[in-house]
Structures are given as structure tokens and as C-alpha cells.
């Protein structure tokens, strides 16, 4: 019986299926546990729609950056963006909330363009992606690069081969 399982595992075609089965078992077992989120997290964010409600009430024009408003003015050590990171480093919160003049104008006229405005360089995600977790971003992009290299190499290889065949 076990021997048969092992023999079937010896074929590469069966490997993804067996692997999927193994993960499936782990996941099904994990259903037994009751999952709870630990409320003490890093980089917390407000509940959905709270910021847009505030923006509607026109409390403060900076709320027009909903849903990515994290406070702070750039290059001002006194008034930094609020970032709760794992390790304290000197320059936290500098990147958050940089606005180009165009974006400032956009912010002043409407509270419905927050995503676009803050995905300019300067949003909270830039703070996380490019500063506190910069190595991750390099890495993800490297994976992308490698995968594209593989694909383009395979395609080029194939195209050249076909061209040679046609010349024959």
C-alpha cells in the first residue's frame, strides 16, 4: 500500500497533485482552530469609510486624501506622517503625504480622488514599499524580472529555431 503510494509519487505528473493534496490536508486540519486577529498590529489603518465620512463633513481638507490619509507634512521633522513600524529609525514618516501642486489642487476641489492623489510618490504605501520594506520590493521585482527573463529566453530560443527550420 505505502509502496504503491511511493511508486506513484515517483512520476513527475503526479507530484503537483500529491502536493496539492498535502496542502489540502493541512488546511482542512487547520479549520479546527478558531482564528482570531491580534488587534496589536503594525501599520494600522482606520476602518473603511471613516475617512470619507469625515471628508464629507468637511472637517479638514486633508481628509480629502481618503482612504490613504495618514497625516503629516513632508520634510517637516515636527509634523511627520504617523507610521508604526517594527524598528525605530530616524527618518520614519518623511515620505508620507507628499503632494505635487497638481495634486494639491485636486485635493482642494474634491474628496473623491484620494487613491489617485496618494499613489503619486508620497503615499503611505510608498513609505512601506520603498522605505521600511525596501528589500521586499527589490525582491518581488527581481522575481518578476527573472520570470520575464525565463519567458523571453524561451520564446526567443523557440523563434530562432523556427526561423532556422524555415530557412532550411
Amino acid at each position: 500500500m505505502i509502496g504503491r503510494i511511493f511508486n506513484s509519487l515517483a512520476k513527475p505528473d503526479k507530484v503537483p497533485k500529491a502536493f496539492a493534496f498535502a496542502i489540502m490536508l493541512v488546511l482542512l486540519v487547520s479549520l479546527v482552530y478558531s482564528y482570531q486577529l491580534n488587534p496589536e498590529q503594525l501599520y494600522t489603518k482606520p476602518a473603511p469609510q471613516v475617512q470619507i465620512e469625515m471628508a464629507q463633513e468637511n472637517v479638514d481638507v486633508s481628509y480629502n486624501l481618503a482612504p490613504y490619509n495618514r497625516g503629516g507634512t513632508p520634510l517637516d521633522p515636527e509634523d511627520r506622517g504617523i507610521v508604526k513600524s517594527q524598528y525605530e529609525t530616524g527618518n520614519l514618516g518623511w515620505i508620507t503625504a507628499y503632494l505635487t501642486p497638481f495634486s494639491q489642487w485636486l485635493r482642494n476641489i474634491s474628496y473623491r480622488f484620494g487613491t489617485t492623489i496618494l499613489s503619486h510618490p508620497g503615499g503611505i504605501l510608498d513609505e512601506i514599499l520603498y522605505y521600511t520594506r525596501g528589500l521586499d520590493t527589490i525582491l518581488e521585482s527581481t522575481i518578476l524580472f527573472v520570470a520575464f527573463t525565463i519567458a523571453s529566453w524561451v520564446i526567443l530560443n523557440r523563434t530562432e529555431k523556427e526561423r532556422k527550420d524555415r530557412e532550411k
Binding site: F6, L9, A10, K11, P12, D13, K14, V15, P16, A18, F19, A20, A22, I23, V26, V29, S30, Y33, Y35, Q36, L37, N38, E40, Q41, L42, S85, Q86, Y87, T89, Y131, T132, R133, G134, L135, D136, L139, E140, T142, I143, V146, A147, T149, I150, W153, V154, N157
Partner: protein
């Protein structure tokens, strides 16, 4: 830091890269030296001439990897070595998962250019496995994050154990097994190493075992 101290010795050095803090212990130093030595030698080596013997016919000859193909595969080998360096030194769980998937992709790349349908078939199945692996790896990391509120190994080492972390441990182990093509899912690897080009193939074997040794340390740290 208690767990790290008890596992792999005192911390020799660390690099402060904002939230991601790579650290060196005697253990990871040994791993780094091994990987560096292997990467240098595997990169310098020329691919071997594989003796071909066809049974029942009197055909004996040698064949080797084409120059262009060898260049590409050597590039992937170097990248794999770099990724392995990251795997053994990183001090962050998510970073670790990413490095492991980079190792998986470069391993795939080492075999992508081989013009042999058996090898390509095995490489394709391996590719499927590394695609599946993104669920256990990143899922495991996310469950740990949700439970403990941190990703840094230095912090995880001092946090007391949590039963829910066991799930993410199991997921991480199975993810690393899949990415490294380790037992019992090693059939793709055994099929793939039939290809030519000894230095590059050897890199894959090295990578899977190094990932394995590192994941052992990490699952201990997580407790």
C-alpha cells in the same frame, strides 16, 4: 533573542535596513561561506561532456550544453546563489518567503532551456508546484502576522508560543518542501537532474538542501 541564541549561537552582526534586519550567526555564517564557495565554483565550471551510450547499437559519443544555453543557465545559477544568500541571512519572515520563491523561479529557469521533453515536462510540473507554493508560503506568513503582529524573527524569537502558529509552521514547511522539491515530492527533481550541465544542476540540489536547513531554524524560532 533567546531562541536564536539557543539554536545557532550568538548573533555576530546585523544590518539595519529599516524593518528588515538581516543577521549573522555562526550557523548562517557557515551557510554563507558554503554558498559562496559553491556559487563561485559552479559559475566558473564548464559544463561536462555527457557520454552517450545507446544500448543495442554500437553508438558511443559525447554531447554537451550549447554555449548560448550555458550562458543563460549560468546567469540563473548566479542568481540562485544570490537568492540563497538572502535565504540564509534574512531576518524577516515575509522576506524569507520571497527569497524562497526567488530560489524556486531561478531553479525553474535553470531547466527552462533544456531541449528535452522529459526534462521540460518535469520542469513544467515543478513550475506548477512553485505556483501552488505561493499559498502555503505567503499564507503561513500572513497567519503568523495576524496572530503575533510581527514579521521580524528577532521579535518572534522572544514571543511565547501560540497554538495557531503551528498551522503557519506546517504551511511554511510544506511550502519550502515544494519550492525546494524535497522529499516526498522530489520526483520532479530526480527527473530534472537527468539533463546535461552538471554545475547548474548541482546548484539546484544545493539550493533545495540549503532552504531546508534554513527552514528548520525558522520553525524553531517561531515557537
Amino acid at each position: 533573542m533567546s531562541d536564536i541564541l539557543n539554536l545557532s549561537g550568538s548573533i555576530i552582526g546585523r544590518i539595519l535596513l529599516a524593518d528588515i534586519v538581516p543577521y549573522l550567526t555562526p550557523f548562517s555564517l557557515a551557510l554563507v561561506i558554503t554558498i559562496l564557495v559553491f556559487t563561485v565554483f559552479l559559475t566558473l565550471s564548464t559544463p561536462e561532456f555527457r557520454a552517450m551510450i545507446q544500448f543495442k547499437k554500437d553508438v558511443v559519443g559525447t554531447s554537451t550544453v550549447e554555449k548560448k544555453e550555458a550562458r543563460f543557465r549560468r546567469f540563473m545559477t548566479i542568481l540562485c546563489g544570490v537568492a540563497l544568500l538572502g535565504v540564509v541571512t534574512t531576518g524577516d519572515l515575509f522576506n524569507f518567503a520571497l527569497f524562497v520563491s526567488l530560489v524556486g523561479v531561478t531553479n525553474l529557469g535553470i531547466f527552462a532551456g533544456v531541449k528535452d521533453s522529459h526534462v521540460l515536462n518535469a520542469a513544467f510540473q515543478y513550475g506548477l508546484v512553485i505556483m501552488i507554493c505561493s499559498l502555503p508560503l505567503f499564507g503561513g506568513v500572513a497567519i503568523t502576522l495576524a496572530r503575533t503582529g510581527t514579521l521580524s524573527m528577532g521579535v518572534l524569537a522572544v514571543i511565547p508560543a501560540d497554538p495557531l502558529v503551528n498551522i503557519s509552521r506546517a504551511l511554511l514547511i510544506i511550502g519550502a518542501i515544494g519550492e525546494g522539491a524535497l522529499a516526498p515530492f522530489f520526483a520532479t527533481k530526480v527527473e530534472m537532474i537527468r539533463a546535461k550541465g552538471a554545475p547548474y544542476i548541482n546548484m539546484m540540489h544545493l539550493s533545495s538542501l540549503m532552504v531546508f536547513t534554513r527552514i528548520i531554524e525558522i520553525i524553531f524560532i517561531m515557537g
